[in-house]
Symmetry: C4
Subunit: 243 residues, 4 copies
């Protein structure tokens, strides 16, 4: 019965170290794609990448081992497994970096809308950056590619996540198109989150506008209950006085 | 007066067999488009397709016959009729496969948002797959077509349903453009559903955030009613004591 | 003080005749663009068009004359004025046809969501059709135009209103681009309306899911008020008995 | 403790002068891009631009000096700083003009939805105009540019903010692409705001539809409280009579 607490404790303690490792991983991947190093540097970067990946595998195994109902945890965290297990598809591995956003989100405070906006913006920025790196790595080796520099990759990512899609640049390799698909799904999620946040804000402001037609709140009900309790007390006193 | 029950019973019993037949139909259609068989195989697939279609016609007729108010049922299920009656426009027939999603949806549970998300995601995946098959079948016979392989068709479907629309590939035949139109409507519906689900989640979380300014619920009203009933009981006792 | 009633009466009575005239206008415009008639037919169509336009001018003048506060009505119906006054920009005139949707909407019933969906769908279909006609008329005389047939115009309209925008066809004339802009605004409105309708449906279903945590309604409050009134009556009887 | 009042007073007094200066700035920038003046006119426009910019710097400094908690104000108005400090990236400076919308918004009244719609529409129109000017200025000097006239720039802005993105015209310079990115973010915000406003309207209308199942409001609770108070008064009188 103490396992959920153990899992929570693990996640709480592992949070900052994992974020730091994800940052190292991002830096190594950025270097690998943008500087295209060779010789010893390439070997060192490859080692760093593999060590980071090993840490994420250990974290995944630790969490499933600490989970109360392992089968249920497995199904609910299928995405985590895919992210850990698919290192052959190199670019997809970096989606793991959203863990950094979770950390950032904690720094913002507790207001739901503020946290949602921070999450959406940070997630979008990270996704654009990582997708640009991944698509560049996948495309530049193809002779028909139109995306051959990081600037072009970044421009393509932005036109894709916003669903504008000019079509001046687009991926031609299968890996590049898988990354594009994930980026488009990210775009839909981003659009949806921003719309939803604005909608929630408008609904609340409309309700606040006219106080009389505002929705009755728990505070109003509490006030009423106090009135009724005062009435009961009055009746009690009235009875006791007469007895 | 027992007819609605009979219609419900039919729909309940026919659910799994119909889902199985839809799967067979999808398999046969996939084979037909992707393997482009000839001779005996083509004949066998044609037969399977026609048998599946006949079953769907029987299901439609059975449901309209069992309906309480047939005229009203007819108007409310016009889409079902179109799907059954338009086998000449082969690709459109496959939209019928969303029946599988309904079955999947039952396995998920009762939470509205979870079911809506499953329905939207499964529907989008199915729509992308079926539209890719249909557009490939329609386009590859046209000399000016840019969509000539299943990979290209899938890539085109994804850029269309997400409304990105690079324009590197697009249908040139009328059938292909009708399929594209349906896919775009699917894209709008998908975008709308995801946004709406996020909006509903945010609205609920914002309301839960500050307990005092939360909307008064039926549970709160029930609590108040109990207070008033206790007061009435108190008054009753008070009267009886004095009498 | 009776003017608003007079304006309402006018609008109620003029509704069906105006819808009929709008239909005639649409038919005449369709013929003009699609059949590109010459000689007598062209003259007849020109006459029909001008008569329809005169009727709309009369309706506008009648409504502003019957309005209680003419200045306020003028500002609130600025769009009506623009639609009536800009016959030089021929295609824009046809936006006036949304009046037909208003009529259709009445036939649907009173449920807000149903009416909104009918309005959005009918409006989108009408806008796509009218924009296709208008863009074809504007583009086909330009030597660099890529939109030269009604089929191409329709395909372009659909890719534009859904914001997909492949870019295989696009207007090159100023008139064509003004129509494109209106169509894009229509697309944003369509997307927004569909999303909003789904959102409203999900919010309601989520609320219905758990009866205890459902929002307190007027019906619940009425029930409570009856409890309190019963209590007052009880106290009244108790007083009268003792006196 | 009087500082917030001082900051408010400053903002209230500076509002109209700042709006006037922003208008002058817009006019100067429009002239500079559209008329491409030379000699004395160019010098005069450059002077006007620099004076306007100096006024905005003074306003920023005045506000941070008058703020109660300067550090907090600094973080919360980071965007203001970026707009003031980045005059090297000329086009971005003009985003400052949204101040005009704030002024317009005041003239509309207090209804949240009306104000939101005015803000979104005015903001979109301003953004399209300013982005067209800025992209034209950035692109026309590049030999590979497809955007070389104001008409083309305007058409490109509209297809971008609506996320249609035909791809017939697109920026090729880095400055042009930064402007495009801001315009796309504006487009997402515009889409989100319109959807949210429609959603809020539908949610409210659905609630108003069925009076009995309408959410309990503060007015209903107030009515109930009056009933309970009447009951207490009745009990009081009853006690006093018997004593």
């Amino acid at each position: 019965m103490t396992s959920p607490a153990r899992l929570d404790r693990w996640e709480h303690r592992a949070e900052w170290p994992l974020a730091a490792i994800a940052l190292v991983f991002l830096a190594a991947y950025s270097l690998e794609v943008l500087a295209a190093p060779s010789g010893r540097t390439a070997l060192a970067i490859g080692l760093v990448t593999r060590v980071c990946w090993a840490v994420f595998v250990i974290d995944y195994l630790a969490r499933i081992w600490l989970a109360d109902d392992r089968w249920r945890w497995f199904w609910r965290h299928l995405m985590d497994l895919l992210i850990v297990v698919l290192p052959v598809l190199r670019p997809l591995r970096l989606v793991r970096l959203v863990i950094l956003v979770t950390v950032l989100q904690k720094a913002v405070g507790n207001a739901i809308r503020g946290r949602v906006v921070v999450y959406a913006v940070a997630g979008a920025v990270l996704l654009v950056y990582v997708a640009s790196l991944a698509v560049l790595q996948a495309e530049r080796v193809d002779p028909h590619a139109s995306i051959t520099s990081f600037g072009q990759a970044l421009w393509w990512s932005i036109t894709t996540i916003t669903t504008v899609g000019y079509g001046d640049e687009y991926p031609v390799t299968t890996t590049g198109r898988v990354i594009a698909g994930l980026l488009m799904i990210g775009g839909i999620g981003l659009l949806g989150t921003i719309t939803a946040t604005i909608a929630s804000w408008i609904v609340q402001r409309v309700a606040e506008e006219d106080t009389a037609s505002q929705a009755a709140t728990v505070a109003h009900i509490a006030e009423l209950r106090d009135e009724i309790r005062a009435l009961r007390a009055q009746l009690q006193v009235h009875d006791e006085v007469r007895t």
